[in-house]
Structure formats: structure tokens, C-alpha cells
Amino acid sequence: MIDPYYLQQLTIGISLGMVYALMAIGFTLIFGVLNVVNFAHGEVYTIGAFAGIMAIAAFGPPFLVIVFIVLAVGALAGFGLERLAFRPFRRFSDEASLKSRAMREATLMSSLAMSIIAREAMELLFGSEFQTIDISYLINKPIELGPVTIVNGDIIIFVVSVLMLGGLQWLLKYSSIGLSIRAVSNNPLGAKYVGINTDRTIVLTFVIGSMMGALAGILVGLYYGAVFPSMGFIPGVKAFVAMVMGGLSSIPGAVIAALVLGVAESMSTTFVSSVWADMVAYLFLIVTLVFFPQGLFGARRERV
């Protein structure tokens, strides 16, 4: 019989992994269409969490309504981010410019700038400490399953994430938005010439990715009861690691890597103190970069 403690850690690990996966997808989708890393993604996560607790403080809506508010705010954040930090650098639309180093470095700086501005603005507005959240909204009510105790947040995170991931897969595979996103990731110029509006496709990608990031933020905020302006940094790094491990632009790869990362992290607290658990992600990153420079699942991808 397995020690219930491990099962408990496994559940926590899966929850963590699911959250990383939601965030990693934002990175992955955006990397796919633009070949750039969006450094403001962690702040989208924070904004999602803040939007959620502000809604709770203002009118205490039911949980599902909070989810929709957060998704809407996330969509708005993604839209604004693309307009402010990415589109201004896309003045030339040929492929060389679209995927050039200059473009990559410029947007790297501009998205980093946006992230600092957003974080500092939130600190000025709300202070840098933990925000108070109505306790009844926290998703850490214990549920006993025989010898194992999990919390309702584990189930909520799992269900919500699976629905989002499933929805995304459906969208990418069967809708024409999804078809456009995949086409732009495969070959932006080819897509443009067959009449795909690449600018709109790029905005939509930011919107979708940011909706998932914002949702991850509120889920974690309510799971741990910890919402603060710099909360997005560590998960942002973890999701980034998951993206790299997954092969940069492979969504299934990023999801699997995120789950592996989450479980490895929560299991490692058994052996080392939880302060060191963060090191697991960095260790994974280094191992991946040294031994699998293409990522664990990205080896077959043809890069432009």
C-alpha cells in the first residue's frame, strides 16, 4: 500500500502542473505565431488574480461568474498587451522581419517593460503584501477520500483546466480561428497570402493565451489564499521552463512537461525543504537545455 502522503503530494502536484500548463500554453501559443517570448505573461496571471478578488470584494458573485470575469479581464489584458508591446514593432510584414532577431529582442524588452509597469502599478495601488480575500471563497476546503485528504481546489483546478485545455484543442483543431492560428505558426507569409488576416490572428492568440494565464492566476490565488503583485513571477518562470521542455511550440509537449514539473516539485518536498522545491524547475531546465536542446517533444518540429 502506498503511503497516503504520497498520494496527497501527487494530487497537489497535478494541481500545480495543471496551473503551469494553463500558463505554459499562453507562452507556447504566442511563441508559435510570433517566435517571441512574452515576458509580461506572469503579470497577466497576477492581473487575473486581482480581477477575481476585486470582483469578490465588490459584489461577491458565485464562483462561475468570477471565472467569466477573470476570463474577460484576461482577454482584455492580452489584447492591450499585443497592441502596446508587440504590434508597434511589427511594422514590416515580410517573414524575415516577422521572425527576425531585432523583432524578438525589441518585443522582449517591451514586454518586460510592460510587466514591470503592471507590477509596480499594482504595488502602488494595492501595496505589496498579501491581499485579504473573503475566506468563504478560498478553494482549500478539505475533502476526505479514505486515508487521503485533498482539498476541493484540487478538483476545481483539475476540472477547470481540463475543460480549458479540451476547449483549446477543439478550437485549434476544428474552428477556422484555430486553423488560422496553426497556419500562422507554420508559415506566416503563406497564411497571409492565402487571405488570412495575420494581425487579427496574432491578437486572438494573445487573447486566448492571456485568458488561460489569468484563469491560472485566480485559481492559484484562491487555492493558496495568496494574492500579491509579484505573485506572477515564479509561476511565469515555471511555465517558461515547461514551454522549453515541451519543445517551444508544442502544446501537448508543454502540458506534459508542466504536469511532470508540478508532480516533481510537490514530490521533492518529501526529500528537501519546500524552499528548495523551486530548484527542481531550474534543474529540469538545465538538463533539458543540455541534453535535449530541441525540447523533449519538439525534436521533429521544422523551424522556420
Binding site: S93, D94, L171, Y174, S175, S176, I177, L179, S180, R182, A183, S185, N186, N187, L189, G190, A191, K192, Y193, V194, G195, I196, N197, T198, R200, L204, R301, E302
Partner: protein, 251 residues
């Protein structure tokens, strides 16, 4: 003959280089026109100007009487001009069917709201158009194969299929025979003629003189960005400037 596409005194400058220098020509409804010229003559640039990828420096391009120079490539494509590329631009990690569907989506337009309802009439039209285009290029049995797994020659047809899924009135082919062997080129020539016979207006840039001479009704010759000839193949073959332009260029 009504001109479908009019290129009026169009120039394009890249820094100090006149890539296209005051070219005036037109393509009539139902024509099969070839565009030839030595390397660096400005053929591909002219194509890029027509498809809106490169903005014109001066002059105007009109399609069915309306100015299209200055419009976005996606808008020009949806007006009925679709093109293929010298170096293939298929979507390698998508299935053959999805590749072609992108063309159909691009042509029908992608309103974000409609796009989500995949069971709609529109979705049905996209899938019908895609199958039709796949049949034309005879790739139906590869529909679920990744484009990256197709042989080079087949990918050429896939790209043409994707352009056909847009139901264009004017098909612009950029060096379709590049990289094909003689028998493949002959096959392609027959295929282009068949498309043309089906009512499509075709414009093609080609290095392969044999192909152009054998299938085109009219040939436009560029050299150093200028138009030096615009006539039937038999006439072009005997134009002094053309012969000079090609001297020393192994073709």
C-alpha cells in the same frame, strides 16, 4: 479584350536599386500569360507588388478596374487573386486537408464569431471547397497526411491546391517548375493548361523557357526592372533585346 489586371507605370525602388522600373502591362480575362527575364530582372518583385506584399513606390495596379496597390495582401487575396511561391510555403505541420482549408477560410473570410460555430453552413462550404481543390490537384488520398511528409513535387501541387481552394479568378504562379525534373515539368504544364481551359486566368513567372514557350499565349519579358518585350512566344523568341538580355545567362 477587357483587362482584368492592369499594371500602370509601376516602379519599386529598394534603396538605390530600381527593382521594377516603370512597367506597364495587363492581363486580360482568360489569358495565360508568362513573365520571364534573367535573374534579378524584377519578376518576383513584380509578383510581390501585384499580391500586395511589397508596396509600390510609384504607379498603380488595378484589378477589374479597381485600384489594389496599397491594399493588404489578405484583402487582395480575398478579391480573387491567389498565388503560389517560388520557395514553397505550405504549412508543414498541418495535414494536407487543413492546408487547403486555410485557403478556403482565407477566401471566405474569418469573422471571429462565425469561426467558432464549426457546424455552420460556412464550415460546410469550407470543407466542400477543400475537397474540390484536393480533387483537382489529385491529392485526395493524402488528405490526412502531414504536408511535411509529402514528396517535393506533391507539395507543389498542394500549394496550387491551396490557392485553388480560394476559388481565384486570377492564379499567379511563381516558378512552379523550379526543382522539378523534365517529366514532372511536362505534367505540370499539362495541368496548368487544364486549369486554364477550365476558365482560370493564369499568370506565371518561370525560369524554364520551354515551359513558358509551350503553354503561354503571351509573354512579358523583364530585364533589369524594365519591360523589354510583350508579345506572343514566336515574336518574343526573335526580339533582339530579349536575346541580348539572355546572352551569357545559362538557361
Amino acid at each position: 479584350m477587357s483587362a482584368m489586371l492592369e499594371v500602370a507605370d509601376v516602379s519599386r525602388r529598394f534603396g538605390g536599386l530600381m527593382a521594377v522600373d516603370g512597367v506597364t502591362t495587363s492581363v486580360g480575362e482568360g489569358e495565360l500569360v508568362g513573365l520571364i527575364g534573367p535573374n534579378g530582372a524584377g519578376k518576383t518583385t513584380l509578383f510581390n507588388l501585384i499580391s500586395g506584399f511589397t508596396p509600390v513606390s510609384s504607379g498603380e495596379i488595378r484589378y477589374r478596374g479597381e485600384k489594389i496597390s496599397g491594399l493588404k495582401p489578405s484583402v487582395i487575396a480575398s478579391r480573387g487573386i491567389s498565388r503560389t511561391f517560388q520557395n514553397l510555403r505550405v504549412f508543414p505541420n498541418m495535414t494536407v486537408f487543413d492546408n487547403v482549408s486555410v485557403g478556403a477560410v482565407g477566401a471566405i473570410g474569418q469573422s471571429p464569431w462565425q469561426a467558432i460555430r464549426s457546424g455552420s453552413k460556412r464550415a460546410k462550404e469550407i470543407s466542400e471547397r477543400s475537397w474540390e481543390a484536393l480533387e483537382k490537384v489529385q491529392l485526395t488520398r493524402y488528405a490526412n497526411e502531414l504536408a511535411a511528409n509529402l514528396a517535393y513535387g506533391k507539395r507543389k501541387y498542394l500549394e496550387i491546391g491551396r490557392a485553388l481552394a480560394m476559388k481565384p479568378d486570377l492564379l499567379v504562379l511563381d516558378e512552379p517548375a523550379a526543382g522539378l525534373n523534365d517529366s514532372e515539368t511536362a505534367e505540370l504544364a499539362a495541368f496548368i493548361k487544364e486549369l486554364h481551359a477550365g476558365g482560370l486566368t493564369v499568370m506565371l513567372v518561370e525560369h524554364d523557357m520551354g515551359l513558358v514557350m509551350s503553354i503561354c499565349e503571351r509573354i512579358v519579358v523583364l530585364a533589369s526592372g524594365r519591360k523589354i518585350a510583350d508579345a506572343e512566344p514566336a515574336v518574343v523568341r526573335q526580339t533582339r533585346e530579349v536575346l541580348e538580355a539572355y546572352l551569357g545567362v545559362d538557361e
